[in-house]
Symmetry: D2
Subunit: 343 residues, 4 copies
């Protein structure tokens, strides 16, 4: 049974394990003050073409989101997110547990529109309601779609006008950065956001996310927040070493590219088999709409999530590829799909 359920089934890319092994007996400073973490910060700043940002390594996405938003917001301030946004739906109220409401706007195609954000903010006019203060986006979105640079630019302008911070959840940022047609690279993210994170867990690391804080006023005493939220690993070098290895050459991008290529192959198979997609994704997630009978058949050999019912006899499923996905399994899935379609 081969799994396309997610992009965190396997461990780390072998080069990362090797790097961890190589420096295993070095004596490192604790809590992220070690030389590898410093080197990872340096190499990331190069890729970001920005020497002023502050970079912190945390162990997972929910932890990063909650630590950042709790640090950035005053008690009465709220985040605005897509209705499908991870912090709104899938983090067990982690943001609310730090005291902040998450407001949601409709998100066709997984994305929020400037108009929806503006309407939400303008509907909050006095002290009887929370004050929207941060726009939370995901790049790619929960369903694998992308914001273009001009869309992001427009949202950034809106945020400046409405006094909102712009924060981007990049759990799968690698896949976005390497997607065909993407024009939001790391320097663009530095220019157009106030903070964002570069996901490692879903692109080659055992664990680890790199939070990049761009806006000066958000940097102050951030390590206190990390410690308080349980996000300051004693052996911080474990994260530093992995990010150093992912970014010292182009490994991070190679891995994401591979995931995208395999996803594209799945999308092509879907098209060739005559099926449609729930959303036109270009990243490592594919959402084919299939007859339930075909899904049942596929489930005999493959595991994946059934995403949502589309009609009485069809559902969308979610297929996720990663740097570690087996090419042969992708081909086998394509074959099985076409066989199912032709029965």
């Amino acid at each position: 049974m081969y799994s396309f359920k997610n992009d965190y089934s396997e461990g780390a890319h072998p080069r990362l394990l090797e790097a961890l092994g190589t420096c295993n007996f070095e004596q490192a400073e604790g809590y992220g003050l070690d030389l590898h973490t410093q080197a990872a910060v340096a190499v990331l700043k190069e890729k970001l073409q920005n020497d002023e940002v502050q970079i912190h390594f945390l162990s997972g996405g929910t932890q990063t989101n909650l630590t950042a938003l709790a640090a950035f917001l005053r008690p009465h301030e709220a985040a605005v997110a897509a209705q499908s946004g991870h912090i709104f739906v899938h983090e067990t109220g982690a943001i609310e547990a730090t005291g902040h409401k998450v407001l949601s706007v409709s998100s066709p195609g997984g994305k929020v529109s400037p108009a929806a954000v503006e309407a939400m903010v303008l509907s909050h006019g006095d002290e009887h309601m929370v004050k929207p203060r941060l726009l939370y986006l995901s790049q790619p979105t929960e369903i694998g779609t992308l914001y273009s640079a001009s869309e992001l630019q427009e949202l950034k302008k809106l945020c400046e006008r409405l006094d909102l911070y712009l924060y981007v959840d990049g759990a799968r940022l690698g896949s976005a950065l390497c997607a065909p047609g993407n024009d939001v690279d790391l320097p663009v993210l530095c220019r157009l956001t106030d903070a964002f994170y570069i996901g490692g867990t879903k692109n080659g690391a055992l664990l680890g996310e790199a939070l990049v804080i761009v806006k000066e006023e958000l940097k102050k005493e951030f390590r206190y927040q990390m410690k308080q939220k349980g996000a300051l690993l004693a052996k911080g070098q474990v994260l530093g070493v992995q990010f150093q290895e992912l970014f010292r050459d182009g490994l991070y991008f190679e891995l994401a590219q591979r995931a995208n290529t395999l996803a594209a192959r799945l999308r092509q198979a879907v098209a060739e088999a005559g099926y449609s997609l729930l959303a036109p994704t270009v990243t490592n997630q594919v959402f084919p709409i299939l007859p339930n009978s075909v899904i049942a058949k596929l489930e005999e050999e493959f595991s994946f999530y059934v995403w949502e019912a589309v009609d009485a006899s069809h559902s969308a499923i979610r297929l996720v590829t990663s740097w570690a996905s087996d090419e042969a399994a992708v081909d086998a899935f394509a074959t099985a799909l076409k066989a199912g379609a032709s029965r």
Copy 2:
């Protein structure tokens, strides 16, 4: 410069890295639902001689403490800890950030006495004060001392009488379990506590703590709390694999034993050099009281914390050994110490 600053300078024991490598390309269920985590739970239950406990793996000590206490306590309930307790002093208000006061009692030798706990609880009589509801201990304590089984038994009885949960922070539990004279083994901890954790980070793992919940009423929906606090790693197998390896034979104990042995050698050197100790520890921390001039000399070759000033010309330093400590470095320190003493 060799460091005796702490027991988390190095990475993981090579067997753990190897185990991570071996299963690296297995496709695992996410979020701690994988087979390695299940195996680690099974092997731990054997060592605990208790099949009813619930076991969760989290990435660090602060994270474990805050997730557990936030889950266990109602809003008006408080923890009682030693004045030197980690949650009281060194976690940046992590417990308070979840809404709970930490009350402190004096802690000579790092330990709390039943009398002090009882007095604290009895001084809280009505709704104008928090309700003490959980006793937080560390085994070993912050300064490396130990509770005996009879002391723990007495505290447990007190907790039952006063309706307190008893929680033990075991960041360095390995060292305690293997200390000479220790009579608090894992089954005893299961009998005498309501929850405790077995530290991995400081005894051979890259990261990871195993939280053991003994009391039935504390188990309910604990995974929700982990997710909410950012403590549910996507690649949960990273923790499972390591604990499986640490406990499938006696590796965890061997590593702790080695740390203790090297600490004992340092203690002996202190005695031989004619110096005294701040506290009579039997675990992997040693607190010699040295002339400041000797400290300055030692600092040329070794790094360690100066713990506290004892008088105008003497201070206590803290030396920590671990499974990874270099025997030769320990001997070199002993030699340097004696040389310093005889000058």
Copy 3:
């Protein structure tokens, strides 16, 4: 300029002020332990026909909601409310500030349907999402509509099946209890809810709400929660005296009845003038849909909220009556409305 903006413009019913004056120099126990508070509890239990409930007096609605929900819910548990629900929209994130997410369901006519609640709960299946644990209703709703006893019964059954507490916000409960056709009286509320509050501020008191906790497990140590949230008034008798006076005979109901009667007169004027209503309310709120030109004219003599635009030239306004509303002003409004209509 006469105001129909709300039902808290004036002070207290004169009988309450008189009662406060009469006992002003009695020496009362502090913090709600006084004899008047006890008497108020006793008289309320009579009206509730329930001697087992626990009753607490708090100073306002938001304070009551946040204190209750924070006390009732564990950290990962969430409330479910109407999209128009007060805790979802108009309390500045007070519930989230205590750590809990508020989930919203659509609320045509201000009410939640069992189907919508069930769908929301069933869409929350595992620890990656909050656990819905409490259904929050308002009686009357934000727009003045009512749940019938059978609707409440159905919701209660659903809550039992889904393991939800049922909590009713009764900021304007007086008006609901006295509305024509209402069949949810105080004893019914005791049978069909786990907790609810009886609003005083909007029905004759200077300030004060009476929280009734029905479910045994929710009663424990509630006064601790009140103190912690700043809701335990030193001079608790101020609340006790007022509720004693409101309920010792039928004053509370008389006042609500008067508010309803005046609202009905306004509704009749709306009908006679040939206008429609946004919602068919039977309580002390009236939402006529008027031409914007008529609204502008009315605003010269009366103040009220413009609730929402209905089309390019019409808006709904909100008129609120209370025990203190001036009958002559109501008639003047009716006259002005009809005059506007006939121009």
Copy 4:
């Protein structure tokens, strides 16, 4: 049985009740935006000789403290208070419930010393500990003692040097302002603190405290915080009217003066009876140390708190006077005390 237990046994000064009655049927804007609240702010600013401060009315002391501190502090920041401080001991963890640790320093005579505060702050040096950010004082202290202007000046300088806000809890501020020898008047408080509150509940009001925010950066969007914490009363005029009446002439000071005078008479009786005091207070609290047999005798006629045991046969009791205390009762107590002494 006459009570000297506290200064909140009785209701409001009759002039306040009368003022509430006079404006009872005025239609006021809700939530503290009414004309009486504005007038109260204006008259207070005059007394403060400061037109730049921001003034808010809240219903009680705990509510004021928690709303202010939650608004002023970032998540990792902590308050420093006396070990006997109200927020440290007697508010059921209200501050911690908003996420902030309260650090305590020893407080001989109820007061904190600059040296103790500085030592506490300096012991907090990095992100593993909270960051002390606000010094909480009470004037008068919990045991009725006073800070002089020069003491306050010294603490203010220290706070500026250490980057701490200085906040003063004035639950009994009236008594302090009118105490013999006091040199900290309202303008001095404006100069030497960043925020403080003027207690109404314990000096003539039914309920109500006036929070004065001096420091510009602490003012922003404070009403949001009030609403979120349940501290924005719908009928805000109830507080405004009372403070307007208390301060439009010298009533507030007259009432406090009367309480002080009666307390002084009790102190004199203590001296004449040959007993000593636990602390040399000059405000409306008196702490005589009496033989337990005398206490038992006095308890037959009077109620008061037994504060603490002093030795096997003596205890300190607490007597509190207020604007409403009965002069004859004070004299009766004095007589009983002397009679007890002479038996």
